[in-house]
């Protein structure tokens, strides 16, 4: 498992560094508050990394503790309702996703993604013997999904509920729910999708724009065209960090939703393929952790976290390339955005911890004496410590 641990940590750090580089490049030419994104990003990065380290060193089994689990369940529920409370909630554009103030806000739906994975992993593990029953295998998980996803949906956010739904399906699949149930749920979900889209006017118009962005190039199609244009201008090797032009205001949300397009422009095809490779590596390492996890709970938790991060990355890239309507989702570990960055880093910490637990439960490995010197300062924190077994 040592290889997986190293891979996960290294990949995470490279993605973080790439994100910081892009945010430096995008913010550098801006004036006023819009230009001060790098210091804020660095603060969140430090907070996130601290959480990352803490999570690596805490046994993930603590999460299945009754009290902690319920704290997560209820606490998240309260947090995602808070944006609707006037005075606490922050409204930006048409959406009410944030709490706090305009300058410093927290997006609780980011946390809700993780809480959903946690609760589902626990429940599916607990009822592993009863999964042949539809109540335990489908109805209960879907109800939890509807609870969290539904509230987030009413915050005028469709991206995170969709990621939640996909992750739920992956968890059910990995927990060995009967395929016929899964097909049934999938069909029901797919049938509900058009209604959900139609229920929110602005979303259906975004889909129309998706079909043909050129019909409204100055209006709704603008963002998409600018995004595609960024990829085009990047070409093979990109214009170079800092030389991108789309960030000069042509491409709205260049530092959040469309950072992948900015990577495409400044680092070219090399950069975008590199990002895809990094997420693929994360995926492979994640799968290995899932398979090597000491128990089913860890396995499901790891698969949920991996899906949340990699699938969201995939999803955001599709948005950037114009295959999906714009959603307002950040690219995990890369984009600017405090809540997302911190929560994603904590989840990565948990994933690494599962890998560590797996390493401990494996037959003791020979001490690797060939660890090269340059790795040492970076990985001193990951030296496995003996775990107290109760």
């Amino acid at each position: 498992m040592k290889r997986e641990i190293n891979t996960l940590v290294l990949t995470t750090l490279i993605l973080l560094a790439l994100g910081a580089l892009m945010i430096y490049s995008i913010g550098g030419l801006r004036t006023g508050a819009a230009g001060r994104i790098l210091p804020k990003h660095m603060i969140f990065l430090v907070v996130g990394l601290m959480g990352f380290v803490v999570m690596i060193n805490f046994d993930y089994h603590i999460l299945s503790n009754k009290i902690i689990r319920r704290c997560f369940f209820v606490g998240t529920l309260i947090l995602i309702i808070l944006p609707f409370v006037p005075g606490i909630g922050v409204e930006m554009g048409e959406a009410r996703r944030w709490i706090g103030r305009q300058s410093l806000s927290f997006q609780p739906s980011e946390l809700a993604r993780f809480t959903l994975v946690l609760i589902l992993s626990f429940q599916l593990t607990k009822h592993q013997e009863n999964l042949h029953k539809i109540t335990h295998s489908i109805i209960m998980p879907v109800l939890i999904l509807l609870l969290y996803g539904g509230i987030v949906f009413f915050q005028k956010d469709m991206g995170i509920p969709f990621i939640m739904a996909v992750t739920t399906m992956v968890l059910l699949w990995n927990a060995r729910v009967k395929i016929i149930y899964l097909i049934f749920t999938g069909v029901a979900g797919a049938a509900a999708l058009p209604f959900l889209i139609r229920s929110q006017g602005y979303r259906s118009s975004r889909i129309q724009v998706l079909m043909n962005p050129w019909i409204s190039r100055d209006d709704r199609g603008y963002q998409l065209i600018q995004s595609l244009s960024a990829f085009y201008q990047g070409g093979f090797s990109g214009s170079g960090v800092g030389y991108g032009e789309q960030k000069l205001g042509y491409l709205p949300a260049a530092h959040t939703d469309f950072i992948f397009a900015m990577i495409g422009e400044e680092l070219g095809l090399i950069g975008t393929i590199f990002v895809i490779v990094l997420f693929t590596v994360l995926l492979i390492a994640g799968i290995r952790v899932v398979l090597g996890a000491p128990d089913l709970f860890g396995s499901l938790l790891a698969s949920g976290i991996t899906t949340l991060i990699v699938f969201q990355a995939f999803f955001v890239m599709l948005v950037n390339l114009g295959f999906l309507p714009t959603k307002g989702l950040p690219l995990p570990l890369v984009s600017y955005g405090g809540s997302s960055l911190v929560i994603n880093l904590w989840m990565m910490g948990i994933l690494v911890n599962i890998a560590r637990q797996a390493q401990l439960s494996e037959t003791p490995v020979k001490k690797d004496i060939t660890v090269s010197l340059w790795k040492r300062p970076l990985f001193w924190i990951f030296q496995p410590r003996p775990l107290k077994i109760t």
Partner: protein, 643 residues
């Protein structure tokens, strides 16, 4: 501590997990392929887009064309409007309050308001924020002299429409307003943009494409969210600002293409005459039309009450503008010479006489007897003559002079409705005269087709035209309506010897004359009647238009008193003064001058003046007298006469 610690994984978990993994990995691979297509084999449309993104076309608005009157007086031109703007990004933050205070004391602005505006544009510190629009010359000097004390403050010069004559000919000018979305759609190809000012009425609208000119432009490198700024130098020439709204440096891509001003418009209007006519109408509602009878050139087109078109372009006149547009009575926006329609009354008889003579239904010696009333075939309902006691035996000349109704009832019955309609249209009534201005009304000469179309949902007997209606129509009553301009065109036809003219305002738009409609003998007979109407004083009775008479001038004329309410309705009032204003008759007088050059046709309409002979005729006389005493000697008439 943990409840799930011992839950072992089921067998076959590897397969399931790997399946999901493969699916996502495959998706990521496809994503890579798409990126390859986009970034390496990219589509050509993106390269054009990239160009469009970076070059910005800043429009340089063209000046509107100048409008001149007959003698070269300027009726509408453009003045330099000086606005004060602030560019917060060029003003040090600690100076801002001082600058606001200074502006408050020098050009009297509200500093609170300005602070609010500056705050609203905080994200775009290099935007030009309007401090005060259209400042006076003194204020401008004060601001420019103290430029060193006002960092960030500049003056910007814009062309602004100016109507120099105020209310004089205001309704003919029309007015300007912001282009509507519908019109923008229609005119987009002509180079119009959102927010452009366009003519909304009168000459400004009719000659919009002529007056508008061609906008120029300059190409500027553009940065994303910023908007290029345009400034003007002291002479009002456009200059590119150094920075755009978010502070990026700007530079010109190519030499600017200057704007081409709109073409100048030369009108045939005689401003002195126009002013005279408008002063004659002061206090009344009505209009005066003066046409050059030989060409159709409009010499005066007065309407009262009028408005000053400046209120539509000058800021701060909101109240006046709203009053005008609210449609309060009397309506000041409607030109009463060509937009409003009135029953013509007795002036209609000129056309009837000419038509009867031309159709050879009567000749100069045909006499009908007027006993004071008329009945179709001598029985049934009786139509009264205005003279209850009857005129006795009358020929056409006398009938025109004394405006005998019974003669024309009889003549109208001989002509029948179809010929009346045809001749009306031939002489320019009930059809558009073709004056080059927007908003002309056609009026209405009712006929068989019109009645059938009006009542097509009703039973057949209501669709049918009855002889009684012809009788009404014969003296210009009933549903018949015309505009004063149409009556003038009809009069011009008599004055110039039988040619229908098309009136025109732009000097280059005319003259357009029809073929000869009436034979000389017809014209001679009608002229004789109209001359007698003005000339005859002795023996009694005098001509109805006697008050228009000027010694030594060959004036022809015809009075008209058009009923608004039926006579029986008015009979309860003992004296004219008792009749409520809206129920009084309209007073018409139309006149022509034969022995002077240029020959003119004049029509006076006084709304609710009650009697054409006593109210409208003296006004026409004043107009004619003024014209030949003052205006006709101008060189502009002499040169035209030479053509």
């Amino acid at each position: 501590m943990s409840e799930n610690r011992d839950q072992e994984r089921y067998t076959g978990v590897e397969r399931r997990v790997q399946q999901v993994g493969f699916a996502i990995a495959a998706a990521l691979f496809l994503l890579g392929i798409q990126l390859w297509r986009l970034q390496i084999l990219s589509l050509s449309e993106f390269s054009k887009l990239a160009e469009d993104n970076r070059i910005w076309q800043k429009r340089l608005a063209a000046d509107r064309g100048i409008i001149y009157a007959r003698d070269g007086q300027v009726m509408a031109d453009n003045r330099a409007r000086v606005d004060v703007v602030i560019i917060p990004g060029e003003c040090p933050a600690e100076m801002l309050d001082t600058v606001c205070e200074r502006l408050q004391s020098w050009i009297n602005i509200d500093p609170e308001d300005l602070h609010k505006k500056i705050e609203a544009y905080q994200a775009l510190p290099f935007t030009q924020i309007l401090v005060k629009r259209d400042i006076s010359r003194a204020d401008q000097t004060r601001v420019e002299e103290n430029q060193h004390l006002l960092p960030g403050i500049t003056t910007v010069v814009h062309p602004q429409r100016r109507y120099l004559l105020g209310e004089t000919a205001g309704q003919i000018m029309g007015f300007l307003g912001e282009i509507s979305p519908v019109e923008l759609e229609r005119r987009r190809d002509e180079g119009y943009f959102m927010g452009d000012l366009v003519g909304k009425g009168g000459i400004e609208l009719f000659y919009e494409s002529l007056l508008h000119g061609q906008d120029g432009y300059m190409l500027v490198t553009k940065y994303a969210s910023g908007q290029p700024q345009l400034r003007t130098d002291k002479a009002g020439r456009p200059m590119i600002a150094r920075r755009d709204t978010i502070g990026h440096l700007l530079n010109l891509e190519a030499p600017p293409v200057p704007a081409r001003s709109g073409e100048a418009l030369n009108l045939t209007l005689d401003i002195d005459l126009q002013q005279k006519c408008e002063s004659l109408l002061k206090g009344e509602q009505g209009s005066i039309v003066v046409l050059d009878a030989d060409t159709g050139a409009v010499l005066a087109l007065a309407s009262a009450p009028g408005y000053d078109p400046s209120v539509f372009v000058n800021r701060g006149a909101t109240e006046e503008r709203l009053t005008l547009l609210s449609g309060q009575k009397p309506n000041r926006m409607t030109h009463r010479a060509f937009r409003e329609v009135y029953p013509p009354g007795s002036v209609f008889k000129i056309m009837l006489a000419a038509a009867g003579l031309e159709e050879k239904l009567i000749d100069a010696n045909t006499r009908f007897h007027c006993s004071g009333s008329y009945a179709i075939d001598g029985k049934g309902r009786r139509w009264n003559c205005w003279n209850r006691y009857g005129h006795g035996s009358m020929n056409v000349v006398e009938s025109l002079a004394f405006s005998c109704d019974v003669f024309f009832y009889t003549l109208g019955r001989r002509l029948e409705v179809d010929r009346i309609v045809a001749y009306s249209k031939l002489m320019g009534m009930g059809v558009l005269t073709g004056l080059d201005i927007t908003g002309e009304s056609a009026g209405l000469i009712p006929g068989r087709e019109w009645k059938a179309a009006m009542n097509k949902d009703k039973p057949a007997w209501e669709q049918q035209w009855y002889p009684g209606e012809t009788v009404n129509l014969s003296i210009g009553q009933g549903s018949c309506t015309t505009t004063p301009l149409q009556i003038t065109v009809m009069m011009a036809c008599i004055v110039n010897g039988g040619y229908r003219v098309q009136p025109y305002l732009r000097r280059e738009a005319g003259p357009i004359l029809s073929d000869k409609i009436f034979s000389d003998s017809t014209i001679d007979t009608v002229t004789a009647g109209l001359r007698m109407c003005v000339e005859r004083t002795k023996p009694a009775p005098t001509g109805t238009g006697n008050r228009a008479r000027i010694e030594g001038m060959d004036i022809i004329g015809k009075t008209g008193t058009a009923q608004v309410a039926s006579l029986s309705h008015l009979s309860k009032y003992k004296k004219t003064e008792d009749i409520p204003y809206p129920l009084r008759h309209h007073a018409w007088f139309t006149a022509g001058v034969l022995d002077r050059s240029p020959r003119i046709a004049v029509t006076v309409l006084i709304e609710h003046g009650h009697a054409g002979g006593s109210v409208a005729a003296p006004v026409a006389r004043d107009v004619i007298e003024y014209f030949y005493d003052h205006a006709a000697s101008k060189t502009s008439y002499l040169t035209l006469a030479g053509n």
